[in-house]
Point group: C2
Chain length 551, copies 2
């Protein structure tokens, strides 16, 4: 029992007061959402009209045993195991004969009926542990009619009262469609979603934050702080740090607020201001030149991985390249050109003037990567473009051009804050938040509703004061054109440029640029004063504050 991970197995997450006595509470239907998208409603006629669910005192003494299935969908996020232990403990409190089934390796486990009964001894091994390895995760989606039918077979065979789908926006949309299908087919199994993603882009008026965001941003901020202190101490490197987090820049913004780097790209701002690659590099160079004048040849720059998707010229280039390399009449000739430089030239010649210009400004390695590495559909692999290296090269060549103004010494190190933030030991916040979410998911199924997302609110208050609710997923859904077809989606939350977290960042960033005001948050602590162990994210804190100055 001496190591930390083992120690954490004994940690008891605090529950909100409202969840302390599951025997005496239940969830009750409340008011209806003010609006459900009419196209969404058409798609889910059987589950379109659902009210919010709130905690209330239980009237009856009877609590039947529940049999529930749980599945981890999509990328890892710290706290997934706590959702499962939360469900487990909750259904056992409701009725000791309740059972929990874990579907293996994501939604394919439901489709293919691959599962495992989760027993007390086994569950205990994963209390407050990182990763999704208790039952594995996967990215299969339940989309085709056959997949729906097979899922129905599995839950019917297992006689499940409910399934909890732990996932991001797509998985929760999927949960709503599965709920609709089960209702339509008169299958008793209820479907409930839990908001998971380190990206922080699954949030809205009902969901304050997705789980995993807190731990990931704390883990990255520890690393960024260490890097900043190293940069400052040696005084010779610029660190270009790419930040995981998909399209949205929430992770980057939170880490910037936690660590005060010298320069931070927020992709949503790039899009709003229609910035080009060169104009961003230009801003970086301006800073680097001014810092060099003060004798500073070091710095920290944060780059969200979504950046390039938000740059209009780059989007256009990628779309042209996708056509050119897969379906155009030049595709074969290009593919048959062995000499890499010639291939690059050939590609450049066939691009539109604007795209050719954008392509030509790219460093050789990126040019090459874009036309060599393609996905099975022949498309450019945007996610593999190493944005941190792209900007290093752009800055390097701009600084060369500006050599009359720039007298410093530019040396850069690329870095990626990524996979190491997804499966770590969950912070106390995520441990407690997820444990509560698991309880709410169990209560929702016990109350017999379907197509809901578990919600825990007032997260900046002490845990005891957190409140809980069930949110009809339909209330969060809308229709979006994807590949020409209208699809139901839960809209991804982007960074709100009028929101308080971004405003707080804007207020300080000029000062961070030139004065090294780095903050070194240090590693996540599990023991010690609550002010350190139970701290939530600055983003959440700001969003809940009355004014920017107070957060």
């Amino acid at each position: 029992m001496e190591n930390l991970a083992n120690q954490r197995k004994n940690y008891k997450p605090t529950l909100p007061n409202t969840l302390k006595d599951l025997q005496s509470i239940t969830l009750e239907k409340g008011e209806h959402p003010s609006h459900v998208d009419s196209n969404v409603a058409e798609l889910i006629p059987n589950t379109k009209s659902q009210p919010f669910m709130h905690i209330t005192e239980k009237k009856s003494d009877v609590s039947n045993a529940l049999k529930i299935g749980v599945v981890l969908s999509g990328g890892q996020a710290a706290g997934g195991h706590n959702v499962i232990t939360g469900i487990y403990d909750a259904i056992k409190k409701i009725n000791p004969n309740s059972e929990l089934i874990g579907f293996l390796n994501g939604p394919s486990g439901i489709i293919n009926s691959e599962y495992k009964e989760l027993t007390s001894d086994f569950i205990d091994l994963y209390r407050n542990q990182g990763g999704f390895d208790m039952i594995g995760a996967g990215r299969t989606k339940i989309e085709t009619l056959e997949q729906f039918e097979n899922s129905a077979k599995t839950v019917t065979k297992l006689n499940l009262d409910g399934i909890v789908i732990i996932g991001g926006d797509d998985s929760n949309t999927n949960a709503a469609l599965l709920a609709e299908y089960f209702e339509k087919e008169n299958i008793k199994t209820k479907v409930v979603g839990v908001p998971k993603t380190i990206d922080g882009d699954l949030k809205n008026e009902h969901i304050e934050v997705s789980f995993g965001f807190d731990t990931a941003t704390k883990t990255y901020s520890d690393i960024i702080g260490n890097i900043a202190r190293d940069a400052l101490s040696a005084g010779k490197y610029y660190f270009f740090i790419k930040m995981m987090g998909r399209s949205a820049s929430h992770v980057t913004l939170e880490c910037a607020l936690q660590t005060h780097p010298n320069y931070t790209i927020i992709a949503e701002e790039v899009a709003a201001n229609k910035k080009t690659l060169q104009s961003i590099a230009d801003e970086m160079c301006d800073m680097i030149i001014k810092r060099a004048e003060k004798g500073k040849n070091h710095g920290v720059i944060l780059i969200p991985e979504g950046t390039i998707e938000f740059i209009p010229e780059f989007k256009a280039l990628i779309s042209e390249l996708n056509d050119l390399l897969s379906t155009s009449k030049h595709a074969e000739k290009i593919a048959n050109t062995e000499n890499r430089e010639e291939r690059i030239n050939l590609v450049t010649q066939q691009l539109s003037k604007e795209s050719a210009q954008c392509y030509q400004t790219l460093p050789y390695e990126i040019k090459l990567q874009m036309i060599m590495d393609r996905d099975p559909h022949g498309n450019v692999q945007v996610s593999k473009i190493e944005t941190e290296r792209l900007f290093i090269e752009l800055v390097k060549s701009q600084l060369k051009e500006k050599s009359s103004k720039y007298k410093g010494k530019f040396s850069a190190q690329p870095l990626f804050c990524g996979y190491e933030g997804r499966s770590c030991l969950p912070s106390n916040f995520d441990s407690q938040y997820c444990y509560s979410l698991g309880h709410v998911a169990a209560l929702l199924i016990n109350s017999g509703v379907t197509g809901y997302m578990a919600s825990v609110q007032n997260l900046t208050l002490p845990v005891k004061d957190w409140t809980v609710a069930g949110i009809p997923i339909s209330a969060m859904m809308t229709m979006e054109k994807r590949k020409g077809k209208l699809k139901p989606v839960i809209e991804k939350a982007l960074v709100d440029l009028n929101g308080k977290p971004f405003q707080k960042f804007v207020e300080s960033r000029e000062s961070w640029k030139f004065n090294d005001e780095y903050i070194y948050p240090g590693p996540i602590q599990f023991f010690g004063p609550e002010s350190i162990t139970d701290l939530t994210s600055i983003t959440l804190d700001c969003e809940k504050s009355h004014s920017v100055s107070k957060c």
Copy 2:
């Protein structure tokens, strides 16, 4: 005071019992080292014959005020600030009128007389903090006669009783030479070194470990554990993790012992077995194929940054390339060949058969990097070769060749555990070790000896039982041929293939290969049970154990 870094300012490192009352102890000359290298002795006639220094009871009551300078030399390592606060507190305990001067930005601060008086308020800001930013660090060496003379001027002007040089093997060698110079010139300033480096290669019978190793390996092991858990949870990536640590593989070995990755290169073993790049990639592929047969398409592979230096064929290739690209008659023609592929062909043609073969097996990006990126002397920049990507490409192409045997899906992610491990908040071990080292350095200067390294021993015992000593640096020195010239050096400790840490690794590695026995150490903890906060490295533990089975 709510954040962790600020909290740490209040942490009081425990001192060994032997250092608890500085008023009543002193260091006394003891036995002489059994052997000093005769060439070394010739080089330092005035300081060649020095005994070990041990703690003893002080006879006199008089304690004059001390004026000491301190300098941080070379790369960052966690605990540097604690050495300085340790010196400060020690000299103030010896005599409250003592003064501490910090030389700025490394040894150049001594040469150029750039310094700052370290006051109590200023010192307090850096207690138990990471980084070297209190006074900055630098890599300048005091080598030329002019630099020696200028250093002498500075210390004479400041009337220093001593200088403490906090650095690695080179800096400590330098300390010994500076001590000799001051003695020869009858300058009163004493010179004392402190063993610093995250690489762990400054150790011998007198120095159990260099400071910073503990924090760096714990920081990296946290990351590796998180990555391993992510790999296991998603089941789809092989992570190729390059580990900082220069030539020696101590950091890699320690992290392997802490986390149990599937495959770990130990560079010293590569050299001993004369392995080739292809044979290492081959071993990796064998494992990947066998794991795929068990349905496992994920894994974690550790690669010390020193690996390629230890591969004989690669060393030969680099040396040929250095000649070919800088001084050979083909150099100009190669440099003038704009087309990158043609340039590669030209280079290949001019290499010896063996080197051409080695060069041809390299992935295109690495081939290119080796002939495009060269240092100011025209040499291949070995340290910039991204070994983690090199092995990914080698494995990828070998797996293609072995496609009849390999039915898995290979997807790899490169990662580098590097700069983020050097400037973090020092672990309790490094905080306490460094604080003690600072005390010993102060005592050595107070006892009037020069050319010594501070040593704290029995580090696997509880802190109160640690012992201390002063080691004449000459006892650790030897002469080594560098660029054709005999130079005094402190020999870098490589991983001992007969040592217990390596043996412990060998005992388990086959099992780690196929059974995922990952350990997830989690982030460094500063609060909580001592078994977690005060744990030392497994390497140290093994080296001090009587048998491999006990460590």
